[in-house]
């Protein structure tokens, strides 16, 4: 089925550009601040629309291999939390820290790729 244009990402982008280029420059004080926050929220939405599905697929695969069984993301994530809360899984469990780091890095690529700790980790991986 062909996708009608503008697509959802294109619509969000249009709103974000409008707020950033036309609204924000005409504001001051706390409304200007909250508009900047709102623009930033739309950037998160844009990044999640582009990469959210890949993030969840990656997390599901990582969990399946860590826990040694298949399942959907919610089930596997639930097992992981139960394992940690029950004490069967901890920081020294082989593969756990690597899985969590990969998941968190993928989340930060969406939430805040400018975060310094994230950028440093990318440099170190390179």
């Amino acid at each position: 089925m062909p996708t009608d244009r503008p697509t959802v990402p294109e619509l969000v982008e249009a709103v974000r550009e409008f707020m950033e280029n036309e609204v924000q420059p005409n504001l001051e004080g706390s409304v200007a601040f909250h508009t900047r926050v709102a623009v930033n929220v739309l950037r998160i939405v844009e990044r999640e629309l582009a990469n959210g599905e890949a993030l969840r697929a990656g997390e599901r695969e990582g969990l399946a291999s860590l826990l040694g069984r298949d399942g959907d993301l919610d089930d596997l994530a639930n097992d992981l939390i139960k394992g940690i809360r029950g004490g069967e899984l901890n920081v020294d469990t082989p593969g756990l820290a690597d899985h969590l780091r990969a998941t968190v890095m993928a989340k930060l690529a969406i939430d805040n790729p400018r975060y310094k700790s994230y950028q440093r980790a990318l440099e170190q991986d390179a």
């Binding site: 909250h34 994530a77 939390i81 969590l100 975060y115 700790s117 994230y118």
Partner: protein
Amino acid sequence: MAQGHDALASGLERALARHLRERLGDEPKVTELARLTAGAANETWRFEAVGSGGDGERLGCILRRSPASLGVEAAADSETNLGKTGEAAVQQAARAAGVAAAEVLFVLDQDDNLGEGYVMTLLEGETIPRRILRDPEYGRLRAHLAHDCGRTLAQLHSVDPARLPTLNRMGAAEQLERYGEIYRSFGQPVPVFDLALRWLADHRREPSRVTLVHGDFRNGNLMVGPEGIRAVMDWELAHLGDPMEDLGWLCVTSWRFGEIDHPVGGFGQREDLFAGYEAAGGDRVDPDVVRYWEVFGTLKWGIMCMIMTHSHLGGVTRSVEKAAIGRRVSETELDLLNLLA
């Protein structure tokens, strides 16, 4: 709050006439009343009080008072937050012990009908972290600010508890329980947080001493001038506990504002902080204990982000800022993994 600007101004004039009559006369005026936007959990206003006596003394003032919020955030805070009256008393006791802090002029009472709060002297200085970290004006300050923070914290931790109002004892055990409970109540599991909670429970040690703890001593709550610290602000989270909590919190990556290679507030090194602390009479610092509290602080900030986001989601305080801050949880997850694994 519903109270308008003009009503607040005339209410303050009545309060000034009641509390500062000797200094400002019978009919003091309030001018230049303005809301300061910084600090979303509190209302902070600045104004000038003009005396009605012959010399017409002008006094720069700050009003801090509690917003009338209820619900998730208030519930989460009720046991950790001192209330404005307690906050004023702690600030004044710390000031008396030599800690740089604004002088409390008076505490609002019921007859003032302005809510819970207090009025203090307005001080001039820089409080915005990014300016403190980047403006050339503060280049020389940055070289000794970590040491200065150590000295200030040693003074703060030496305040005689007998001079303080009743404060909650909030050691690691109590805080682990409280923040763990709040986190789990959201039903939004973050595996890294559970690992950190477990690690913190396993590595907990009894403090070598129990003292006054500021509870939010960080870049952002310090007012500085090019010469040094002019005031420690925001005393509302003060409690009794392990003094090393304050040193660890100051080092949390979130308070480095991007300058991650300067662990102390984005401006200094841990060795300088510890040296300043010990030189001013503070206990010998065990870096492992400070690191414990840095892990704790990183987790606590992550949970605070969740608290603020759920205050929005639950309809307590609808705000795009509170919605957005929930997406900062992943920042604390990475920082926790860097500390723990």
